[in-house]
């Protein structure tokens, strides 16, 4: 059966929007809100949804079949969240038909808006260097923190391609940061190892998860908030353990 010949159902449009948002790291209450708004603007005001970080359950009303979507890959892509948000805004204002919205969402799902890896590593380096200064480090630690931070971020991106388990990639990246900081201190390129390490691990810190966990908990999404909090805690532990392993090689 040709997929294109069947008109998109309201459910599939809503689920697609929800899927993109959740995969890009949006809060679950925002995902539910967006799906219900889209459904409502197509005349289905009684839609029900239940979103957790790992799956979406969506029902248009009591009689239609309930749909389920599993989310296995999650990353951080604020740009996609903004795009889906503006599509849903246009739908609510009646500027987009269902087919147009479906096409645009499909395009958004396929497109990649991410900055190039090179640019991301540069950003990670700048972030690391600046954090070393912000935590009252001396300017002597700026360049070592930049290098360690860039290496750590690059390592995490690379390891993540090889290893399925994200926590392990974070662990290995932190080991590298720890080792590099030791090396810089040993070569007397930096002043304080602590400042270099703190700066360098900042790009790995699960900041988005922490903020989202809080926002979800406050919106009453207890399951989503707790599971995101657990994910953040695991990431923090992976980073801590990695650094501990790295610097114990003395």
């Amino acid at each position: 059966m040709d997929v294109k010949s069947t008109p998109p159902s309201i459910t599939s449009v809503c689920l697609l929007a929800g899927k993109i948002m959740l995969q890009s790291g949006a809060e679950t209450h925002r995902v539910e809100d967006t799906m219900q708004r889209i459904a409502a603007s197509f005349g289905k005001t009684a839609s029900q949804s239940y979103v957790t970080p790992t799956g979406i359950i969506f029902s248009i009303d009591g009689t239609d079949p309930t749909n389920f979507m599993r989310i296995s890959e999650r990353s951080t892509d604020l740009h996609k969240i903004a795009i889906v948000n503006s599509i849903s805004r246009q739908v609510t204002n009646g500027e987009l038909s269902m087919a147009e919205a479906n096409d645009q969402l499909k395009q958004t799902d396929l497109d990649s808006y991410s900055f190039s890896l090179f640019f991301q590593v540069i950003a990670a380096a700048l972030v690391s260097g600046c954090f070393a200064i912000m935590f009252d480090g001396s300017w002597l630690d700026f360049v070592p923190a930049m290098l360690a931070g860039a290496a750590g971020y690059l390592a995490m991106e690379r390891f993540h391609d090889w290893v399925e388990i994200r926590f392990f990639a974070e662990f290995l990246a932190s080991v590298i940061i720890g080792l590099l900081s030791l090396l810089f201190i040993h070569l007397q390129l930096g002043a304080e190892m602590d400042k270099i390490i703190i700066g360098a691990v900042m790009p790995l810190v699960p900041g988005l998860l922490i903020t989202n966990a809080v926002r979800d908990l406050m919106a009453g999404h207890l399951v989503a908030g707790l599971s995101k909090g657990a994910e953040a805690l695991l990431t923090a532990c992976a980073i801590g353990a990695g650094i501990a392993v790295g610097i114990s090689f003395v």
Binding site: R30, T76, H79, V127, V205, G207, L208, T211, R215
Partner: protein, 146 residues
């Protein structure tokens, strides 16, 4: 203070890049992060305890992100996240972990408790600004209804 201003701006904008924020929003991300951090840093260097200082910083970040979100019609999370990151007690958490690894459990647990309190302060600051925003929204709606 000058170097704090510049570094916190770059750090927050850099996080915008790492989180793939829309290119147009990067400057605002940096500004929100900078103002939140400067408030925290200023209070902390005046002698305020780190927990209330973090609370004030998070509150400011929450409020500013809401304003930005409204003005640019984008989800609030874009400005929020990179603004909060500088306030996250990464340094304390690291110190706590390091002390634990070195078998200095007393210092480790102390620092970990402090890091936990600061995370809580971030949460409360964000919630406060959310609550105030909702109150303002409701007040506006009531006025319209009249």
């Amino acid at each position: 203070m000058g170097e704090q201003l510049i570094t916190s701006f770059i750090a927050a904008a850099g996080f915008g890049v790492l989180f793939n924020a829309p290119r147009k929003a990067l400057i605002q991300c940096g500004l929100v992060g900078m103002l939140g951090w400067v408030l925290y840093y200023g209070l902390a260097s005046e002698g305020t305890d780190a927990v209330p200082a973090t609370l004030a910083g998070a509150f400011l970040v929450g409020g500013l992100s809401k304003v930005c979100a409204k003005y640019y019609k984008t989800p609030v999370i874009i400005f929020n996240v990179s603004g909060i990151i500088p306030l996250v007690p990464g340094g304390l958490a690291y110190d706590a972990m390091r002390n634990l690894v070195e078998n200095d459990y007393n210092a480790g647990v102390q620092l970990a408790a402090k890091a936990g309190l600061i995370s809580g302060a971030i949460a409360i600051g964000l919630v406060f600004s959310e609550v105030i925003n909702q109150v303002i929204k409701k007040a506006g709606r009531k006025r319209k209804a009249k």
